[in-house]
């Protein structure tokens, strides 16, 4: 199975990268960008074939390693 994980900063947590990217985009003439948030995107190829079990497993990976749950939240998709 393929699992996709999206890791984003929790709302309210400062995103220095997003801020810098936004102002660079503005100076490139992309003026209509109101906000930019940068996160991580992780693709995992799993041996597991059951979607339910795969999701549960990936969620455990997120808690333990893939996301820093102090400041980040995550979302998992399996297919």
């Amino acid at each position: 199975m393929l699992a996709k994980v999206y890791v984003t900063l929790k709302p309210g947590v400062l995103d220095p990268q997003g801020k810098a990217v936004r102002s660079s985009l503005a100076s490139l003439g992309f003026l209509g960008v109101e906000d930019v948030r940068l996160g991580k995107y992780v693709e995992l190829r799993l041996a597991e074939t059951d979607p339910g079990r795969a999701r549960a497993e990936v969620e455990r990976m997120c808690e333990r390693l893939l996301a820093n749950t102090v400041i980040e939240s995550y979302r998992v998709e399996v297919s």
């Binding site: 309210g12 400062l14 995103d15 820093n68």
Partner: protein, 745 residues
Amino acid sequence: MKREQPIDSATIARHGLTPEEYSRVEAALGRAPNLLELGIFSVMWSEHCSYKSSRKLLRGLPTSGPRVLVGPGENAGVVEIGDGLAVAFKMESHNHPSYIEPTQGAATGVGGILRDVFTMGARPVASLDLLRFGDPSHPKTPFLVEGVVAGIGGYGNAIGVPTVGGEVAFDHAFDGNCLVNAFTVGVLRKDKIFLGRAAGPGNPVLYVGARTGRDGIHGATMASAEFDETTEEKRPTVQVGDPFTEKLLLEACLELMQSDAIVGIQDMGAAGLTSSSVEMAGRGGAGLRLDLDRVPVREERMTPYEIMLSESQERMLIVAAKGREAEVERIFRKWDLEVALVGEVTSTGKLELFFGGERVGELPIGPLTDGAPLYDRPRHAPSDLAERQRFDPATLPEIPAAEALLALLRRPTIASKEWVYRQYDHEVRLGGVVRPGGDAALVRVEGGKVGLGLSAGCNSRFCELDPREGARHAVAEVCRNLATVGAEPIGLTDCLNFGNPERPEIMWQLEQAVLGLGDACRALEVPIVSGNVSLYNETDGRAILPTPAVAAVGLVSDCATGAHSWFASAGDVVALLGEPWRSPSGPPELGGSERQAMAGPLRGKPPPLDLARERAVQRACVALVRAGLVRSAHDCSEGGLGVALAECCVMGERRIGARVALPVPGRPDLALFSEEPSRIVLSFDPARRGEVARVAADHGAPLLELGEVGGERLEIAGVLAVEISKLDAAWRGGFLDVVARPTAI
């Protein structure tokens, strides 16, 4: 005044104020506070900002001297170094945030100490970091080590201030509470020192730097509260550091400081806008009026409470001279930073806060600062101390000396810290004359020959067994480290990391440690010019080992004469400055040593420190190094003489062996590893023998020839002979044992 619902006792407790303290708040105001005012009192009266448990004790420290320009009380201490120049330095803790989120916690710790230094008008030139982690085998330890080091490097490297040294030690007492103490030193002109003072009614107050978000609200009270299972809930209080913005802030501040537009300036550290405004007003004997609507914010609908208590990073508060606002604005705009006129200095002696056209808070400055509670907390020695101080080294199981040596070299506290300092840019700004790896760093001051010796340390185990003696050792060791690069100590900063001061045993430790710092500083004639106190370092009622960390700054008039710590040349004489063992016949001291920790629980007493002897050894070493008489100098600390000799063989880029003979008293597997102070291993050209002996004698320091550099082994006659490749493998591998584990992304 804006009123809200009355404050209940749960709210008071949540703000960390005792009922008595709350009555004092009411007395100071002459009425009940509103929530905003309560929040402000709560952070200003927190242990972190008010030093309420430690202030009385700290008064006993020696803080003055002929070179001292600014002592404790300002953002950093300032000491003169000649040629119209001075250095500003300080050390600060970021223990609690680092335990919760190691990377960001450590990063913002570095960011904070950098601001403390450049707010004085100094350009930061070097940083040190002193770290304590739990047992290497504790599941959380590798995660914390990895994160903290990444955080310190990530911030320091990006901003371009070299991290040139530090200390890392491990002990299970830190399992639930690591220590991250960051030190920075900067260089400034002695006639261009900026202070955190608000003065001159009518002068404008400007906010500069990053926008204010909801991060870290109540971080200052968190730093003063013990950890327990509810710690998880406090997590959103972690702040994210932005070294890029701080770099801009640094350059903008230094650019503005070229002019005389600034009356006072202070960074917004713990307790953010609250502590910076209140402290500046307090020092200047003034009042302040702030219009909180004008504070640049990052989030929608932020309340005055949030704005005043936010601990967003990379912000400063400036009191400018009236009419100079435009200049300030021009410079901060140039650096793409926020700048906003947020208020003015008044003569009311009050902090007056406005929001949405309403007066939302009004607090007298005096009670917030000088009038903060001061405690003379009860203290007494732990009842089992005498029992724990009893220890007979002979009870340690005997093992072959070579085996003990290899095992000790591999212990993470002793092993090479290369894994750590390779992740730090220690060369940027072209100052690195003696780089990490030896006892002290030596950093050239731009534009001349003058160099700064830098070292930080503390033996926490010694402090647990005898806090006064332990603190004396800490001062002696950092100054001894400076001596090995020929630097004479000119100033010290401390960071007092202890448990809950409401427990009499902890309060006693704190008192004893402060006394010890004072003893040693007086004897070695070095003032303490700045510092920081971090209390409540405990988890579930278990305190850390008391750790009065110190960092020393030393001066070298010509840094071309610095020595390295390691043996370099076959045929050189190996000698010991100081006495190999205090008592040539009796049992060696092993209390608090790594040798003891390797075999069993912490017991006994730290080895006694004779400060007169210490001073003689240090002065002799400084003279030898400065005269270019010695090729290497390495002090004996953790692991004692045995480990020091082995390190001399393997620390350099080219390993080299040595053959020595020692008058070992008793069991070599103990004596070789006793951690007695006041000893420095030297190597020098045999042609210099006479001169070296004369300098040592002139300073009243014992000197004992031990043998000769050369060969592929470390041989201690009749005791051990080990291939240097084996020593090297143990010493270089020890730290990797800790960190070779899963890494978070």
